[in-house]
Symmetry: C2
Subunit: 288 residues, 2 copies
């Protein structure tokens, strides 16, 4: 399907993508680049990429498919590094967890060629990172969200859709705004809350003693607080607008509880908890 993949970022996400593409016979050759030359070299030794490129620009030279698998905050710099070799016929995709900021960067840097970029967010990952953990099955059976803009070429959307489908993914399409709102609500805000709860405990003298008494509820609730700090720094900054909006909804819901508790309104409080309990019990996520 593709002659040459230019892979920028040979980490868990990028490395797994390259392996999956090769295994599916969807690409002939993979030229890879990572910020750290030792990572690029390691990726070649592992067979994740075929050729090491000394720069992002050289990685995309001659590619008909470009995959950006870099932290979202590095997107703009990456586009800048490669723009002189990006033509309208090259398909460019990414794996960023936020989409509006990535798209803004594409608009600013790619100019007339922005139509070649199809913003993608595959809903997958691991608790480990790095090319050593790259796994060709990382994407199989997962949702991939495409958030094209008006200027995105229909033909590129079709190619991106065909590519992910061939890798065994379920492609979902929505606007960048819907995407960022949804993930602010079900992922970014929960992470922020879990971080804040851990810091709230850590800031109290008795915090460690408190935590020694915690049970399985706490364990599950707080698990996401152990996530990668650099990655989450970028996400929280990139999606701050939608986060602020979701935070407002959350604080409103919290204030409702506060009020009923302060006024001792047991029946209304029970109704409120009942609503939450039902919403959670009725949530069924395929495959989870």
């Amino acid at each position: 399907m593709f002659e040459q993949l230019g892979l920028i970022g040979c980490g868990l996400m990028g490395g797994s993508f390259a392996l999956a593409m090769k295994q599916a016979g969807l690409v002939r050759r993979v030229i890879g680049y990572s910020k750290s030359p030792s990572t690029t070299e390691y990726a070649r030794q592992l067979g994740v990429i075929d050729v090491e490129a000394p720069s992002a620009l050289q990685a995309v030279s001659g590619a008909d498919l470009i995959m950006l698998a870099v932290p979202v905050a590095a997107t703009e710099a990456t586009f800048k590094a490669i723009r002189h070799l990006v033509g309208g016929s090259t398909l460019i995709i990414d794996v960023g967890s936020t989409k509006r900021d990535v798209i803004d960067a594409a608009r600013r840097v790619l100019g007339d060629n922005v139509g070649a970029f199809v913003p993608c967010h595959p809903i997958t990952g691991r608790e480990v990172s790095g090319v050593a953990n790259a796994d060709p099955s990382l994407y199989v059976g997962k949702q991939v969200i495409l958030t094209p803009i008006e200027r995105t070429h229909d033909s590129q959307i079709e190619r991106a859709t065909a590519l992910w489908t061939a890798l065994g993914c379920h492609v979902v399409r929505m606007s960048p705004q819907e995407h960022d709102a949804a993930f602010a609500a079900v992922s970014h805000l929960p992470h922020l809350i879990a971080f804040a709860l851990m810091n709230s405990l850590a800031s109290q003298k008795a915090g460690e003693a408190f935590m020694a008494l915690a049970g399985p509820g706490f364990r599950d609730f707080s698990r996401i607080a152990a996530s990668d700090p650099k990655m989450w720094r970028d996400i929280l900054l990139a999606n701050r607008e939608e986060m602020a909006n979701q935070m407002e909804h959350f604080q409103r819901a919290l204030a409702e509880f506060d009020k009923l508790i302060a006024e001792g309104r047991g029946n209304d409080l029970e109704r409120l908890i009942n609503r939450a309990s039902h919403a959670r019990a009725n949530w069924r996520k395929p495959g989870l």
Copy 2:
């Protein structure tokens, strides 16, 4: 060790306690009472109790051990129902998730006999409730927190400690205030937050569409939101003071994040997340 257990509340916690006491050979006879006569009858049919009592008062008549396994909000009414048959030599224990309110009720109602009551909180439970799920191993290997007050008789504290130890529990002692603060921090506030997050989602038009995109992080974070509404209504009302205190700590931690995100201070934000991530990664709960 005990001749007769008067069990008030034949649900999961009370029923499991009776079974465990019998299995360990720590009690000769169990007289049980539940608010619903059909529950009491069912408990006898299951062999959880030996004799059905038509009232709480009759359940404790002749008992040298009284176990209150009722919702915390029902504690005061239960003490009132039994006070005329409570003497200083009877050991009274409970399983309530909050302690200051339970102790206040005991002080108000038991008067001079308050020294016979040893407030207990076994850190155990199931997602299912009811006597049908009673299990003699529910308490094995679990922590039981005792929160005696100055007036609690030393001899009763010793008897309670010996009893729980004989059931395979690890007994921990702390003040009622410490207990309620700790559980506000690691259990009650996380539950409140999870309830509020679910309601925040449920209140948004796109909430269901958002949730359809949620992954394993959301699944774990929100699991406790499916908890029993009546039980949590009681806990949130009973422990409102410590909850308010913990909420203040949490909101302060959240505001710190908000500020750094709004000001785009990436390095400081990363440090803040790092602190949370470390606190969570270093938390090791034996047996979890």
